[in-house]
Symmetry: C2
Subunit: 256 residues, 2 copies
């Protein structure tokens, strides 16, 4: 029996992403971290710093996927409401976590900074949560059920992921192969590509045009599959398809 498909959803929390102030980088980082573990990110949502919206989205996503990753809203200010919303989605009480408080205390004491009431808020977790280590700035994330609650600042978020991998039970690892065709346009190969896709039920083929200037454009064709043998066959077929229309296929190393 082939390994099952394991999926995750990503929930990005924060007004600043919706307003365009901040360009999210966490979705791509989480996807790339999970792929080799055998987890595909199959859905993502961005919600504002509004309790009901977070609860609603999280309740839907945690029921529909094996894992959910949230980013943002776990800092020390009034708009950091993620822990409360996660507790509400799990119908769990929330309280100061002694281990989290100890982490915060030792960090701030060692730096000669005050453990203010605001900072102390970062020690609150839903009952039943386990902490996720923050190697960058101390204040931990947490896991409850199938939900991982991570920081929004990308450097901190990536640091926290290191304490996530060992908790994940992955399934089929979907690998990809990319073939670039400089100077080709999607319209020149779209028909052949559809025919090729129809012959592969275990490989998904994607086509991604790029335009960097009037003399620097082309298409990257990407094959994705959990079956390494079929993936190699598909990559060769993509290269042949490009040659057939007079192009010069170039196998490239590219994540995703």
């Amino acid at each position: 029996m082939p390994p099952r498909r394991v999926t995750a959803a990503v929930l990005l929390i924060g007004d600043e992403i919706l307003s365009g102030r901040t360009q999210d980088a966490n979705l791509a980082a989480i996807s790339r971290y999970l792929a080799p573990l055998g987890v595909q990110v199959a859905e993502a949502r961005v919600v504002p710093d509004v309790h009901e919206r977070i609860v609603e989205a999280l309740s839907s996503l945690k029921a529909g996927h094996d894992y959910v990753f949230t980013t943002g809203g776990i800092g020390p200010t009034h708009d950091d409401i993620t822990a409360d919303a996660v507790a509400a989605a799990f119908k769990a009480p929330i309280a100061e976590n002694p281990d989290a408080l100890e982490i915060l205390r030792s960090r701030y004491v060692s730096r000669g900074e005050a453990l203010t009431e605001a900072r102390r808020r970062m020690a609150r977790t839903p009952k039943g949560a386990s902490l996720i280590r923050n190697p960058v700035s101390g204040a931990p994330g947490f896991q409850i059920g199938n939900v991982f609650v991570l920081a929004g600042v990308p450097g901190i978020m990536r640091g926290m992921l290191e304490d996530v991998g060992h908790r994940i039970e992955g399934g089929a690892v979907v690998a990809s192969r990319s073939v670039r065709a400089n100077g080709l346009r999607e319209g020149d190969i779209g028909g052949d590509l559809a025919t090729l896709q129809a012959g592969f039920d275990d490989v998904s083929l994607g086509s991604y045009p790029f335009f960097r200037g009037p003399d620097d454009f082309g298409v990257v064709l990407v094959a994705r599959s959990a079956d390494a043998g079929r993936l190699a066959v598909a990559a060769e077929a993509l290269a042949a398809l490009i040659r057939d229309v007079g192009g010069d296929p170039e196998m490239i190393d590219e994540a995703g």
Copy 2:
């Protein structure tokens, strides 16, 4: 009566965004385009190139917001299935649009390229749709009801937005003012900021820490409001709050 709040949702369509291959830039571009028109992006979702997922997300979003913007999936290849999914969400038939076909024909003829079957797919729109001009690469987007269907390639997407603004009926314009405090940490001001927020029901205050290095960190405090007078008051209050903890507030010009 103050102008009403008008909201939009953004639906990003494409396996490549979920896999981390592509870093989305369209959400921020749409948000920044809409803000001065009096439309706030209040939710965003990312879905894969799967018919049911697109239909499901679109049906939910178009019922919950004044406007919906989709990006991606309107090119000439087999994985470009957005037009069909939008038609299904509106329970509308889909057919080749004569005006779209004429745009494609004249473009490809003028360039000496073939109007292949694959390219011709780009002329299909749901019944009742009006075309959205594509000043970059010809193939149009379309509007049906409160949904705007745009390209995924950022340069093309931004070009299409120019034919969107005049169709939008905006509401209250939410403006923002940002105050930067270099060297300050969120935990030093979180309590005061919460107190300040409690005094403003018509201004939303956000706090965004940045860490660019051990000697280059700080916080940007952002006030957002539809009331310019209250916004100015809030910005001054934020600056005073920073001064109170020994910081040096700097008013900065920043979108979002």
